[in-house]
Symmetry: D2
Subunit: 417 residues, 4 copies
């Protein structure tokens, strides 16, 4: 184990969370816009609680808990770790103050760095997998910090920007969509080799696929506007039954954050003109499936998606969050599958289910993934808000069919010849 | 086409619906106990509307619609067939009276019989598939008539029996549960040969399966009581997250219709003693999955279930609804898979999704199945309430994870060697 | 006590309930359209339960209860009389059948008639007040039977008539509205003399009134249409805050049962043309108050209403329910206050509160009125659906501000000189 | 007009709001705990908006609006003043920041002070009534700031104190409760003389009262504990019907903020021991009426309350909010009515209705009171959180029957001889 490398990695990941909170006031960090979202302050505390409770407490001799009461406040959903504050009430916590949560982070960081630097080899080995899990976990919350605060700011009539001052690109047209052929057959998917993977990506296993095609890039805003102009939100024939009920119950007529009359949408940079060249995002599964139906296509299964991406030479991923534009950019042209993981999460037609032979991690972290395997669909890829280096071909993201506050879009699929 | 055979089949299926309504008063037939359920009168009318609208109207020259207003009242969910009465309001229809609905049935039956007897060959050929679909559709509603009226009667403090006078069996113990091995590999599932199949069972296609085991019979009440006695409804570790939330929100502590304190449950024959030998039923997916987790097993996938059942020699199905006991009976002993289709629907771990290459039927009946392929799980088998001859190995039933008013139980599965 | 007169009165009142149910099928009588309304069958049973439980059980030696289980089913809200079936579930009772409820009525009637004819003087004296209360109670339910079934039938797209075949009057114009002056001062209101009065009308007591004016007749449909045409439902300035919230939450733009586009409204005689001359009805308190505000007037207090009506010579009341038109008729012209009690209940600005010195009746019937004295407003007068002879000047009807399924309208008031 | 006196008064009232916010962080000030409550930041801004919109805009020549967008954000409920941010969303406003709201206050204060100092006599005269209304309005919000933040802090499992460090009194026993006799007759109530009064207190008018008695002091915690010990929350016979439904729907067993097992309650000073000598508070109307019923008494009408208080020699009011204990203190002994306005608001049996001859103020401020005169009950007196000098004998406070987050208790009444 390379202790100093782990120290640097820990420092970098933890610092990135603070960097994401930096443009925000304590007030911004305290509010919760809906039960599905959490306050940024809560994310900052919960990710520290994860290290404290699962790494430092059980593995680091002599660790002193920062505040005994935080176990109740910042446990997210681990039944095995005791009772906890109800999720919809996370926005009622003006105390602890943001400053106190930052102190909490420093306390946990110092203990972790000390443990990595000087902990017994055996204790550190035993904890190494959980430290890595904690880092991956923190990266997942980094994306949520951005999507949750975007939702909060969108509810404010002042339409404040998370990062003001972005220069909008001149609107354009997306590069042409090409169809790529895949032969199917008996393929292997799932995480199996070296490197980190969540338990829900395992075991690597065989799947039979019929021949299929995937679109070279995600669906663009321009294409989605054509769907809308063709009565997409008013014609039941494109929609799943639950989706049509959702459209009617909420009088939906555009993706989340869109203001079609004004030709704008709300972004982390404030209200911006809609660029037809951009990948469409903030769609839920119902919208994605309805668009595909309208387009004479369908959503891919997650196995189709992963098998196809495995055939791609790995492209160096572009710099992303906080280093550039916090919104999906238009695809550049090129061969093969474009914007696999740097633009929008891509809805699949696959429900989130256990792989054959799936075993949850032992202990409390067994609740990390397995218990959510019902009522959700898998998304593949990654988004403009995913931390650099976090995702991979076998990565399984998942949300309920109606959710649309993530950077979620779609890539079309068709049956092959 | 054998016209007289079709006439006899039509007569038999339609008569069975009336026979099911026979023990009920007009008052019983008018009430709706929840939005998921429909009044028996509505079922009787809707199944007639199906024939009138999809067979007689388009295919039978000179057909006179019984009442123009019934199109609005008895369309279930076909967007392509125009607006309709809201589902939760089906219980507000004291008019048309039951007697008028019975007249409607006679009108439609007479027209159908006349059409089959004397219709032009070409017209009848064009309609034949829809007539068969209408019969299968009516059989599906026959099962719903029983489950819906069971739910209604269960809400009545008088606990009235749909069929009084059943003699309870002496309680016993289920036959031993054996584990049967299946090798997996590249199997074929789905409907492909002769005979009727719904569009959701097609196309027949290949699936790769790892080796697995299935239990020889469904889980029994006695086994489920052991789960309850072991704190099954109080221990989060067995439950999917949504399931645990459901248990807590509704303070659930037993299957639907059970009165564990009294050792009884409500059945179509009134309140009866719980027989440990019987298959447990009226479980939802959450309960089925929690039981399996407690038992150190899991639910099968639908492909595992179907591939296994294909290997079974077809057993002549026992006489069922209305001819015997309207409740799942204990399994008799024997080799192979027991109670495949005559006791309880068996929850699978598979979400209800389109098969690869799935194409809905053309026209309005394309809405029959495809648009419901989200948010539900597949059940396999059949139940004590399924009409004789209705189900088959490739049959896909489906309900939302929380639903439990059907005759739904489970058969355990395990990974194979 | 005149036993035979009481027998005749009992017979007449009880027969009237049956007469009201006569145009209805068992299906009509079983359904419940909303929690506020009850099935007609329930009304028929509950009014019998009232006599059985409060008169026959305690006072009639040897009375045999018809069915012990009915106490649970047909207790409305008497906490002192034990647990009961939840009100919103009254429409789940297909059993007992209507026929069984009619048998129940006969059983109770026979016992009551026998008790009146042959009961011990002392027992009958002790019960006399409760028998009278039971008769008055039954009359209240007679009005509810009509308003509840009207609501049920209105939800049916077939728009069935309770009493078909009514010949609509030619639409006309209301007689001119005159303002009548009342001097106020120290007046007496409340029930004090001979004859029956509910406990909520007592004690008779003094109230100081400033001079005021009352309109000679209720507001007409024509006048209300002018309010609507002037933007009545779109202009916040006329509305109480709760009322405006109600208008917006339910997108209200007309009285209940109105179809302004078609110029019709749904009545117990089916859909009829709106007659501008008729008193407007099916208004809730919010609508009544908004109209008054628009008209530069206000609602009267209940003391103003009662003090004014006391000054009127008693007019012989016109024949009403079932003997004529089951809808408020236009006022005929004449001096004084018109349509005091034969057209619409008239909302007052007075919350339903205890009179000074109010004492509820002793025993369970103390729950009859007193416990409802919060959150409701008083209505005065009577309606086209009130049984003949039931109401009087001191009568206090009461409903929640948002209720509008009763025959409720308004009479304007103004401050006097 | 004494300009400098008005300047000093303005400064004092406005400074008091800031003093109330002083113990709170920006995070504390941003959160909204329920739709009925508002964030402290919102109160600070709204009270400034009131002056800006109703005084400075129309009356102060050359006034520059601080931020045009605040009209939408901080309009509470004035339909005449345009659309506004929905009340339940007030807690979604992390921007404007608290600091910006404090700048807003300074801007408005400077303009007001300048206007009072140098405005034209005529303009100032025209505005004088509205300035006074604005000050009274701000005082009402000062009380709400305390009750709203108390509710927010109570939801935090850390149970933070608004003002830490209070020394609890030694628990004791309340001074004896005496009954005071009042003869009733024709009395006058309402605001009529010099000094400020809200429109809802006018006009002064005559009311006839029967003889009655009032308790010398509010009900104490000790007395309320006896009610609880006697099954108060489990016995339907004490409760109004709506109240009993409320008890059961929410499983209520104690006043808001009480922890009877621990013998403590949550206060603005954190969790404190319950002192039997203190007036009970945080009761809603249902609880107050149930207690009175249990005690063989009743709630007073507002006229009884006011007529009695008019007979009291005015006592100099004790120093209150922020200068002492922010919780009702035990009554000291003495003659006459004790704790008229310095402990708890006292529920009356009187619905909040217009007085005879009531006329709302002209213009937008006509919406201040009149439109809320339905569905609420009047409370009389004042509380430990009412600003000094704010209340008077004719003051009418009002809340919905179920509300209990205010400092609300009760004073018993009885019919007189």
């Amino acid at each position: 184990m390379d202790r100093s490398r782990l120290q640097r990695r820990l420092e970098a990941v933890r610092a990135h969370s603070l960097a994401l909170a930096q443009p925000l006031s304590a007030e911004d960090c305290a509010l919760q816009s809906m039960p599905d979202a959490s306050p940024v302050k809560w994310h900052l505390a919960h990710t520290s609680w994860f290290f404290e409770t699962l790494v430092l407490g059980p593995h680091c001799a002599g660790y002193r808990v920062f505040d005994e009461r935080f176990g109740f406040l910042f446990n997210s959903y681990y039944e095995a770790l005791g009772p906890r504050h109800p999720r919809p009430q996370r926005g009622m916590l003006s105390r602890p103050a943001l400053q106190e949560v930052l102190d909490y982070r420093r306390h946990v960081d110092a203990a972790l760095q000390g443990f990595i630097e000087a902990g017994h080899e055996r204790a550190l080995s035993a904890a190494a997998g959980l430290i890595e899990l904690g880092l991956q976990h923190e990266q997942q919350h980094q994306e949520l910090m951005l999507t949750d605060v975007k939702h909060l700011l969108s509810l404010n009539p002042l339409q404040p920007a998370y990062l003001p001052g972005a220069t909008p690109r001149p609107p354009g047209e997306a590069v042409p969509l090409r169809w790529l052929d895949f032969g199917g057959g008996l393929v292997e998917i799932g995480h199996g080799g070296a490197g980190f993977g969540f338990d829900n990506e395992t075991p690597r296993h065989r799947v039979w696929l019929e021949p299929y095609q995937l679109a070279s890039r995600p669906v663009s805003c321009g294409e989605y506007l054509a769907f809308m102009a063709d009565g997409g939100y008013r014609r039941a024939e494109f929609w799943l039954s639950d989706g049509w009920a959702w459209v009617q119950a909420h009088a939906v007529s555009a993706p989340l954050y869109w203001n079609p009359e004004a030709g704008t949408h709300f972004t982390l940079h404030g209200a911006c003109p809609l660029d037809p060249a951009e990948p469409v995002c903030h769609l839920n599964l119902y919208e994605a499936a309805a668009y595909a139906q309208w387009a004479g296509a369908r959503l891919p299964t997650e196995a189709e998606w992963e098998a196809a991406v495995q055939l791609q030479p790995a492209a160096p991923m572009a710099a992303k969050a906080l280093e550039g534009h916090l919104h999906p950019a238009p695809a550049g042209d090129g061969p093969g599958l474009l914007q696999v993981e740097d633009a929008v999460w891509q809805w699949t037609r696959s429900a989130y289910e256990p792989y054959p032979g799936f075993r949850p991690l032992p202990g409390a972290v067994g609740e990390y993934n397995g218990k959510f395997m019902v009522g959700q669909n898998v998304l593949r890829g990654g988004s403009c808000a995913s931390p650099a280096g976090h995702v991979r071909a076998s990565y399984r993201n998942f949300f309920a069919p109606a959710a649309r506050w993530q950077f979620t879009g779609l890539r079309l699929a068709r049956d092959g010849a």
